[in-house]
Point group: C2
Chain length 344, copies 2
């Protein structure tokens, strides 16, 4: 796929087109930027339900970027279907990913993953396009083995409040592999572990953004449970590099691939790093662990290393510093250019 | 719910109505019969894709039975929606349940479980009706613990060829519990283990029907793997009694309930019982175990006993004899009243 001119539906020259569902979200916006940098023409579909308008604004100036507000649980609009023959790649990153957001409308979360994924798979099938699903480490639930390799079947509570997302993603994977097995579409499935960086939504309820925003605002820092649960945090540029490698690698795609950073730290250690970076003196408050919250989560990335030659390269200290700087600017702008309460 | 006259859409007297999706199937047809016997007015929805026409024919003579050919992946027709206020119970038994059948169109299997279940949940919500999902022991996948209690999270391969069914049912459960948690509908979820009896489809590919039909036809008896994998077989009258008890019991419904027979036998022992009953002298042929076929499956029915006071009562020998007799008549009728090759 090489650099092409601006998409002109009226004077369609048949350039290859890349569809990115969920392209206005946190990872999606970085992915769209990287695809544009690679010279691709990007058609971004997003509901903007959980995406930040500023992520989109930064992309919309680009001549090869086009945005269409669309909910993938609904039939694809003519503006997409009419260009089916041009579509070479279909990325599905569409779904609220933080528990408070995806639990707000669990029916919609499930349908986004199942009906939405199926609709995009049908589009890929009709287009002869390659399809990539961003699945999640949540398919492993609260895992009993560490780190989690891709053939671990997981420990998901399919009746609990997180199931709309976890089971929705498992169902989406199942659909993708069925299309792949039947030769209906060439598929790739990435299981994304915790990712952080600029463009995260401050109100998303993720541990990294929560702690940084609380520190920058001088608010008490919240820890759920005893803080000894571990997470592995991947900087967003590493994640996007992994996603691009998976989409474009000459592999058969019939195996899911973990993408994440295997460096494991406790939430308490993360808090200490955020305190050091932001120099906050705010107190720490403890809250009970939410239901079905995984105690430990760490990717086994042997498959990604072997298949894609990929591994994360940004150390946590470096990524956190960049993320803190971005949030400081973001919160400063939000507060009408007033300085953040804590020094950075 | 008491006995009511025949449903007359034109002169609707507002009798309570019971909707049974999948009511022409194996268990569905027995359930419809039991509901009619209890005096309920039954509206059966079925695609007839995997149901036997004769199951339906036996019901259609009943004055309180109404059939509508409908695929629950499609929007509910006016003939259902127009009677929403009358609907008191919604049963979802709709989905092909044998691996060869549900793997024929995995996309449809997934959508039946997710889109179909959601559509019926919305109907129950609009009607203020109680909803029961027939889920499956397949939500436990190839289990590592025996017997399986309801809080076991299962070992399902979400990328394999059985996932369209297993993950579809897990997703359907997730939807049902989300409706229940939000107070949108009163829900019940039964996890049905292997069930057998009259009205099974001879071509369904189940081990009981396969072995009995092969024996009655004098064909070689097929065993997959070494035959040491175990199953627990519940006679259909016991299953229907359990389903009715679960639907009508004054429980809160927010826990799934295993229904099945905990008496565990190997497939090889089942074969020996079928050989004894049918007196076949046909040879046994061994085939490789299909991918992701569970090695062992046995319900822990402590919850059903405690909540519903239910336990199966039909011994396997008795149930198998009745099933063999039914299949002998069925295959005899199929062959134009010619005697079955094996004596019964």
């Amino acid at each position: 796929m090489t650099a092409q001119g601006r998409i002109r539906p009226v004077r369609d020259r048949g350039e290859p087109l890349t569809v990115v569902a969920g392209g206005a979200g946190f990872i999606g916006s970085h992915l769209c930027r990287a695809l544009l940098d690679r010279g691709e023409a990007v058609l971004c579909l997003d509901t903007l339900q959980t995406s930040r308008a500023s992520n989109l604004a930064a992309l919309q100036g680009h001549p090869r970027f086009e945005f269409l507000r669309h909910d993938i649980t609904q039939p694809l609009p003519a503006r997409v279907l009419d260009r089916t023959p041009r579509i070479a790649r279909v990325w599905n990153l569409a779904c609220a990913a933080s528990p408070p957001r995806y639990q707000r409308d669990p029916e919609h979360t499930m349908l986004t993953n199942v009906v939405g994924t199926n609709s995009l798979l049908r589009l890929a099938e009709a287009a002869g396009a390659r399809f990539l699903l961003t699945s999640t480490s949540e398919v492993y639930g609260d895992p009993e083995i560490h780190p989690q390799p891709e053939d671990y079947r997981g420990a998901v509570n399919c009746t609990g409040p997180r199931a709309c997302y976890d089971e929705g993603k498992r169902a989406a994977e199942s659909l993708a592999f069925d299309y792949g097995r039947a030769g209906r579409a060439e598929i790739r499935v990435a299981r994304i572990f915790n990712t952080y960086g600029p463009n995260m939504d401050p109100a998303d309820g993720r541990v990294v953004s929560n702690l940084i925003c609380q520190a920058l605002r001088g608010e008490p820092l919240t820890i759920y449970g005893d803080g000894r649960q571990t997470r592995s945090f991947c900087y967003v540029s590493d994640m996007v590099a992994g996603l691009l490698a998976l989409m474009e690698a000459p592999v058969d795609g019939m195996e899911p691939v973990n993408l994440g950073n295997p460096a494991e730290i406790t939430v308490k250690e993360l808090l200490e790093q955020v305190v050091t970076l932001t120099r906050t003196r705010a107190p720490v408050v403890r809250r009970p662990l939410p239901q079905d919250d995984p105690r430990r989560r760490r990717p086994d990335i042997a498959r990604a290393r072997a298949l894609l030659g990929w591994a994360p390269s940004v150390p946590l200290a470096e990524g956190l510093a960049a993320t803190c700087a971005w949030f400081a600017a973001e919160l400063g702008a939000e507060a009408g250019a007033a300085p953040a309460k804590a020094s950075v």
